[in-house]
């Protein structure tokens, strides 16, 4: 039995907004599913950390951001990137390690990003993006800008020193950072209960005298609203804010992980609360043909991205040694 979002909350949004939210989540889901297949076929190099099940977090947060707001991500970045506006083409090409990808094939899955779209290459050291986000927000504040930085990390990162140091810096300087903790209950295979006695990640906000909030991460509208509130506070100089989004991975930590450590009843509970199915469930009576049309459109977009990526040129061997240093000293 699949849950659906409450009709009363859905009714407060224009249909276009809801369909857009659905399409963006579906884009991530289908992108990830296709990448998984390509990976298992052996067509795609490297390793992958996927975000099926967490689409409500990525899309809910990014829909609440302005286009020029910034984002830092983690080793599990595909959803964040698509939600921030990177195209399936530039990402798929990158995942194939081709020279025309968004990082010229030098970043790959774990460092995907495009600063022109506000996304720093994903930082795959757990917690490593947190001090970075604080510094980006410091620059915004010093330049008297109005942007905010959304800093994604998992619950596992909250036991890193980088979390403590980065959040503390943002706190003492009142920086415009929305710290977005996607709590999917597991750091790789280790349950959060084993590694933290704190019941709610958002409780940790008290340690820095900032506001913390826990939200249902699979309810895209709740995520959107919480992020909007947090971003508004940041723009008013009342940041940072720590958001904890409760969610669940529908797939392994990385390649070929069968998730034997996830209890069956826990899986069933969370799978019944899939973020895409919950939104679809609330819309399907009135908008089934529109939703189906989106599914087909997304399918075509992903298919086309795969075809484009397969045909994209490999990097040349000369590319190995470029982009290490700036070519010249700026005067």
């Amino acid at each position: 039995m699949t849950m659906k979002l409450a009709e009363s909350s859905v009714a407060q949004y224009p249909v276009e907004f809801l369909l857009n939210a659905y399409e963006r989540m579906q884009l991530i889901r289908q992108f990830e599913e296709r990448v998984k297949l390509l990976f298992l076929e052996g067509a795609m190099p490297g390793t992958i950390h996927q975000s099926q099940g967490q689409e409500g977090c990525a899309v809910g947060v990014c829909m609440a951001l302005e286009a020029d707001d910034l984002l830092t991500s983690t080793h599990r970045p595909h959803g964040h990137a698509l939600a921030k506006g990177l195209t399936p083409d530039e990402m798929m090409i990158e995942l194939f390690g081709k020279g025309t990808g968004c990082c010229k094939g030098k970043g790959g899955s774990m460092h995907i990003g495009n600063i022109d779209k506000g996304m720093v290459p994903a930082i795959a050291i757990v917690g490593g993006g947190i001090p970075l986000a604080a510094g980006m927000a410091l620059a915004i504040k010093m330049q008297k800008g109005s942007q905010v930085v959304a800093c994604f990390f998992g619950e596992g990162a909250t036991n890193e020193g980088a979390f403590h140091e980065g959040v503390n810096l943002a706190s003492i300087w009142s920086l415009p950072v929305v710290f977005v903790c996607e709590n999917n209950l597991y750091g790789a295979s280790t349950s959060i209960d084993k590694v933290s006695k704190v019941k709610r990640v958002s409780d940790r906000a008290a340690a820095y005298s900032i506001r913390g909030e826990t939200v249902d991460g699979n309810d895209i509208l709740a995520v959107y609203e919480a992020t909007k509130r947090a971003a508004d506070e940041c723009r008013r100089g009342e940041g940072p804010v720590l958001l904890e989004l409760l969610t669940y991975r529908r797939t392994g930590h990385s390649r070929r992980d069968p998730c034997h450590y996830q209890p069956k009843d826990e899986q069933e509970y969370w799978f019944s609360r899939d973020p895409i199915a919950m939104l679809r469930g609330a819309l399907v009576d009135e908008l089934e043909s529109e939703l189906d049309a989106i599914d087909m459109r997304v399918d075509r977009v992903i298919e086309s991205a795969v075809e484009t990526a397969k045909l994209a040129p490999e990097p040349t061997i000369d590319d190995l040694t470029t982009d290490v240093y700036a070519s010249e000293i700026a005067s």
Binding site: G107, P121, G128, A134, A139, A162, A330
Partner: protein, 337 residues
Amino acid sequence: MKRQSIAEALRDAITEEMERDEKVFCMGEDIGVPGGFGGAFTVTLGLEQKFPDRVLDTPISELGFFGAAVGAAIMGMRPIADVQYSDFLFLAMDQIVNNAAKLRYMSGGTLSVPVVFRAPVGATGRGSQHAQNMERYFIGVPGLRVVAPSNAYDAKGLLKSAVRSDDPVLIFEHKLLYGSKGARAESGAIDGSSDIPDEDYTVPLGKANVLRSGQHVTILAWLLMAHEALNAARALAEQGIEVEVIDVRSLSPIDWTTIAESVSKTGLAVIVEEGPKTGGVGAELSAGLMEHCGESLTAPVVRVASADVPVPFAPVLENAYRPDAARIVQAIRSVVV
């Protein structure tokens, strides 16, 4: 023209760069507290009065504020972040190596990280954890530039180049060379002062400097050891041995053109390093000498370095740890026949 210590020259360099470009700012521990120290060695003393919004005192959070410096740099600012003692760089290692040095590459060349990190090194009566020469850990980090000035002229010129560079630059400074005054003066300090021109100048990153010419043997040294090498050269000159002293100065990249030119003339190379011999910068220099001018060498490369031990506390042990002119003279006499 004025005579300045390294601390004074660095302070002027920072001031001038902050005046020139409002994107330049400083962050670090105890760097701008009124009535405080001006950083551990007085380099930023008084800057907070001139630039109240651009001298940021940080928590004791080396990982945090080095990461914040990198984050600010990718947003177009030009931060100068310093640690009180270079030993603390281990705490910030992830941000320096995994983020600052790699973001340009990982982003396919779309990001620049114009950040400067400053870090004081050297064995100076503080035991093992405020004493190391950390150069060795950073010379093999692609994307990061590393410099180590031995005198005030170079310190000012290199810091200015570092601030203007679009690459991350790590500057190692030596505690005994600063010329810090008052309560922050160092016992056993060596004079690193220079005549500083009144006009703006830079010293290019990536270039070594021939401190003294000679035709019999080449010494490669940097920071404090450049001074010990000069002392040794002066002593040997009285015995008819003419030593060419090269201040390597840029540890990454290394200026092989200048070094190979010297060694092709002298045929002999002695490397002097403060820090354990094993795995030191001297090992890289030695291997590079073989690659770049090995056919010119008439005898094996000699390394003068510290013993493979942590930095000791007792003055008698610390003096034995740190190479000095006498040891350098001895090493040179072993190869110059």
